[in-house]
Each structure stands twice: as structure tokens, then as C-alpha cells.
Amino acid sequence: MEELVKILQELASGFGTTALLFFVTLVFALPLGLIISFGSMSRFKPLKYLMKAIIWVIRGTPLMLQILLVSFLPQFVFRIMNKDLTAFFGISMNALMFIFVAIAFILNYACYFSEIFRAGIEAIPRGQYEAGQVLGMKKSRIFFSVILMQVVKRIIPPMSNEIITLVKDTALAQVLGVVDLLNAANHAVNEYVVLTPLLYAALFYLIFNGLLTILFNVAEKKLSYYKV
């Protein structure tokens, strides 16, 4: 019984890290994704192609590789300069690794989100923009007052897909030794020589994703009062 409590404590702390990574990624990747999507739809060709190239590279390589690269690059640079990375930033190695993972996740997910935004924005008929224009609205006004809510409604299904994937992808954080939920479960398996921690971890993921699914269903229902 004591063992079970201990295991659950470890898992809960791992879940805390997982949840933190999840929310940090969402909070930064959503606006960044919107900015990248604007860039990839820009009429200024160099910007457009730069964004498309970035999206291509990030979507075309494994997330795990990107995590490794994001963490090794600064370590490599600091080694050359003969400086201590943790001392320079003044935080622990664990915290630093978490930040590296978060940066990789944010960049990666921003690119996926940007493509979802782009699809949503491009699906809005031109007539909606034109109706705003003939009513004397500014371009930014048209976007925020007319277009955005229609985009939100359209992208909820693909977004929920991507966000649920994000929950599971957080397990990749352990390549840098970050103790997330799955890493914690793995430790417990080795420490207590039982398999149940893995099942508990699975339960944690399932419940988290179950809650997210319910949330998205509610949002979808809330927006079902109009058709686009």
C-alpha cells in the first residue's frame, strides 16, 4: 500500500511536468502559429517562401531530432566558448533541459498549428472579406470581427486532433532526461519491479485526453448555433 502511494506520488509529479509542458506549448505555439500562418500567406514572396521552408523543415524531421538539436546546439556553442551553460542562465540543468524541450515543442507545434490556421483562413469565402470592405471596415477589423470566429469554428476538429497528439508527444521530453509522466512510470517500473506504473500512466494520459475531448465537444456544440 505504501508502495502504491509512493508510485502514485512519483507519477503525479511526472504528470505535473507533462501538463506544464503541454500548457506552455499551447500558450506559445497558438499565437506563434497564427503569425507563421500569416507569413506563409503573405503577398511578400520572400517572407512567404521563408515561412514555407521553415514549415517544410520542421514538419519533415522528427520532433525527437529537433529536441536533441535545440539542446545540443547551445551546449556545443557554450563548450566552444568555454562557458558554463547553467551558470550563465543561472538555473538548474533540469530547468534548462525543460526549457529546451519546450522551445522545440513550441516551434514544432506552431508549424503544425499554422497549417491548420492557414487551411481555416483560406476556407473562408472571399465574399466575407468583400462584405466587410464595402461596409468600410479596415483589414484588421475584418479579420477580428468577421473572419476569426468563422475560422475558430472550422478548425476545432483538426485542432483537437493535434492537441491530443501533443499530450502524447510530451513523452518525448525524456530524451533530455526531463522526468515527465512516462519517464516517472519507467523509473517506478525499474525501482519496484512491477508493471502497474505503466498502466497507471496510461490511465493518466487517457483521463487527460478524455477531458480535452469533452472540452472540444462542448466548444463545438457552443459554436453550432451558426453555420459557415
Binding site: G127, E130, Q133, V134, L135, M137
Partner: protein
């Protein structure tokens, strides 16, 4: 001097010339219908008048004031301002689906109110009012904050009042097009005819001097065209001009002071309904009318 004067309007898309020099003018209170087969440039003409497309050549004058000239570059702001002389009702309504009928009509008004209040506040702040500027130097921080809060409150109240006026105006417009009962319905809950009437009310909200209709009944079931045409007929007034691109010949004949027949990007023939429908001169118009009569 004419109220609206369009001179030598040209527009090409890629290599295709769609408008090859359009000249016409109209007076306040005039209703002009534009007829012609598909691809003759009718819709492009309306879009150029509303600056949804910018003409490659030519000019547009309202009240003798040039609001567009293809040789000049216009800032987005100027285009936005000049465009408000015109209103446009689209073939496909283009209502905003996430808003109720009432909110669709209110939105342009509320946005204009918001901008007006913001500009007024900015003007006050920039010290155009010298008494305020002199005062600013003397007062303490606390009083400044208090003044700021008071101004905020005053602005909020002014906005509230203005928005209430907007709501009343929008409600009246919707009642005028016979939709007093449907104000709080969303576009997806309305029939095509009702949607188009909401769109007309929305176009009227900013009181354009020239109201354009781009085939307002072409997307409607035949039994719904009547209600929309009735509304358009009721809009005829000495205070505004209307330009109607339509395939409803009988309606055009009935409502119009003048008819413009377009073919291949030029005005092939123009005149009173009597002249156009009873005494057509050009071969193209004769063929068009024959074709129309046969296909009815």
C-alpha cells in the same frame, strides 16, 4: 453637373479586357439597371465602383468631386472613405454567419461609432483644445488619474448611448424590409429571400448615396424573388441613386429611369426602358432580347 460621373473606365484581368471604356452618369434619385449577357462586364463595373477592383484607367466623380482616378495612388484609408459613397448588395448575400440579422446590420454602425469616438478622444488628447493643454501642466498625478477615469466613464456612456441609437436604427431598417420578427435569427435560420433583405438593410445602414445591386435575385428560388424585388422597389427615393445589375427584365423595365445594355465590356446601348425594350437599335441588343424572350 451630374451626381455620379463615370469616365472611360477600363479593367483587365490578366490579358483579358473586361471593361473597355465605360462612360455614364446619373442624377440623385435615378434608378439605372444594367443588363447584358454573362461576361459582358456588368459585375466588374459594380466592383470597380465599390473599389473591390481598382480600374486600370478612368475616373469616378461624385458631386463633382473626383473620388477615384486610375492614374493616382490611393492609400487604403482614402479608398475606405471614398467607398462609403457606395453600398453594394451581393448576389450571394455575404451575411456574417456568426451574427444575428440585427447584429449584421448593426456591425458597420457600431464599428463606425467606435472609430469616431476613438478619433474624437485622440483629437482631444493631442491638445487641439488649448484650454485642456494649459490645464494639463498644473494638475497633480492623482487628479490626472481621476480625470482619466472620468473621461473613460464619459466615453463609455457616450458609446453606450451611441450603440443604443445604432440598435434602434438597425431595428428600423430591418422592420422596413419586413423582417421585424426575424431580427434575432441567424442567417442559417433564414430563407434566401430573407437573407437578401437583411443584406439590403445592412447595405443601407451607412446611408450610401448610391446603392448598387449585383444580381440580387439570381441566387434565389423563383418564388422568393418577389419579396426582394418588392423591397428594392420600395427603396426608390429622391435621396439616393440605385444601380441594379439584373436579369429580371420586367422588373428592370418597371423600376428603372434608364437602362444600360452592356456587351463585351462596353455600353452598347443606353436609354429609357421604352427605348431599350420597345425600340432596340443595335443588333446585339435585339439578339439579347430575342434570346431572353425565347428562354423564358
Amino acid at each position: 453637373m451630374s451626381f455620379l460621373e463615370v469616365k472611360n473606365l477600363h479593367k483587365s484581368f490578366g490579358g483579358t479586357q473586361v471593361l473597355k471604356g465605360i462612360d455614364f452618369s446619373l442624377q440623385k434619385g435615378d434608378v439605372v439597371s444594367v443588363i447584358g449577357s454573362s461576361g459582358s462586364g456588368k459585375t466588374t463595373l459594380l466592383r470597380c465602383l465599390n473599389f473591390l477592383e481598382l480600374a486600370d484607367m478612368g475616373s469616378v466623380c461624385v458631386h463633382g468631386e473626383e473620388i477615384f482616378n486610375a492614374t493616382k495612388k490611393y492609400a487604403d484609408r482614402d479608398l475606405r472613405e471614398n467607398r462609403l459613397h457606395f453600398g453594394l448588395v451581393f448576389q450571394g448575400f455575404n451575411l456574417f454567419p456568426q451574427y444575428t440579422a440585427l447584429k449584421n446590420v448593426r456591425l458597420p454602425l457600431d464599428i463606425q461609432t467606435g472609430e469616431r469616438l476613438k478619433n474624437a478622444r485622440k483629437a482631444r488628447k493631442s491638445g487641439k483644445d488649448p484650454a485642456g493643454a494649459a490645464e494639463k501642466e498644473k494638475i497633480s498625478v492623482l487628479r490626472k488619474i481621476r480625470a482619466w477615469l472620468a473621461e473613460n466613464k464619459a466615453c463609455a456612456e457616450e458609446r453606450k448611448r451611441a450603440f443604443a441609437d445604432n440598435a434602434l436604427k438597425a431595428e428600423k431598417l430591418l422592420r422596413d424590409v419586413g423582417l421585424g420578427e426575424k431580427m434575432n435569427n441567424y442567417p442559417c435560420e433564414l430563407s434566401g429571400g430573407q437573407c437578401q433583405r437583411v443584406a439590403i438593410a445592412r447595405a443601407l445602414a451607412l446611408e450610401p448615396e448610391i446603392l448598387c445591386f449585383d444580381e440580387p435575385t439570381s441566387a434565389l428560388d423563383p418564388e422568393l424573388t418577389g419579396e426582394v424585388l418588392r423591397v428594392i422597389r420600395s427603396l426608390k427615393s429622391p435621396d439616393r441613386a440605385m444601380i441594379i445589375v439584373t436579369h429580371e427584365m420586367q422588373f428592370a423595365a418597371e423600376i428603372s429611369d434608364r437602362i444600360i445594355f452592356m456587351a463585351d465590356g462596353v455600353i452598347e446601348e443606353a436609354g429609357t426602358p421604352q427605348q431599350i425594350f420597345r425600340e432596340p437599335k443595335s443588333e446585339k441588343l435585339k439578339a439579347f432580347l430575342r434570346n431572353y424572350a425565347e428562354n423564358r
